[in-house]
Symmetry: C2
Subunit: 113 residues, 2 copies
DNA sequence: CAGGATCCTCTCCGATACTG
DNA sequence: CAGTATCGGAGAGGATCCTG
């Protein structure tokens, strides 16, 4: 009586959560643990502070990323994956794996033979 | 001597391939087999012909989708997953699974308790 | 039926300057 | 350091008309 998979209707939802130029990049870093805002900014090459803030807000609103403010003198904010966010680690791994393989096969082909 | 996963650098690549409003939706249909252009258009609610064409072209260029022209009187074109495209079926399944679960947990929380 | 061309709108995203 | 506000360009994406 379970539906098995007769459609992949929820796939759209993935894009709403992970869509945007930087979200996967951010997650691929938080994947390895808690990071401060500035660390993220440094590790994500090319991102502007504005976009980092925005994407982090989106991820926070989605319940994937945790925001923790620490009241130091120059304020410190740390971001990490929530419990829900952690559930997508295997998914991130598999996505990355697929991407690696796919890039290899396509580069072989375009190499001519 | 293998790298294990010490970074998820290829994740960016996923977005280049699957980014765009409709690509996952298209793939979630081609997942189940070959489809004609018009069938896709009908099954993807809200998509415009222009976007369907564009997204299909992108997917074709990426080597994920196959385009086959059949010389009937009103021309028929069929789209299907390539060999490379088929390799992402497990990925699509896992993405969908995660999305389903994630939507459940978040809807529970927003239900108040 | 499948797809091209054109026009138009809206959102994404970068750059910059400013606040606690 | 972390975040907000504003401006502006580029591209995504929609609607419509046209063609083989």
């Amino acid at each position: 009586m379970k539906k098995c998979v007769n459609n992949l209707a929820s796939l759209q939802f993935i894009l709403q959560v992970l869509g945007g130029k930087w979200k996967l990049h951010i997650l691929s870093i938080l994947y390895f643990g808690k990071k401060r805002f500035k660390e993220l900014e440094r590790e994500i090459d090319g991102i502007s502070a504005k976009m980092l803030i925005k994407e982090l807000k989106d991820l926070e609103a989605a319940g994937i990323v945790n925001r923790q403010t620490i009241n130091t003198v120059p304020i410190t904010v740390e971001y990490s994956l929530t419990t829900d966010g952690l559930t997508m680690k295997p998914l991130l791994e598999q996505m990355n794996e697929w991407a690696v393989k796919f890039q290899q096969t396509t580069s072989k082909k375009s190499a001519g033979y």
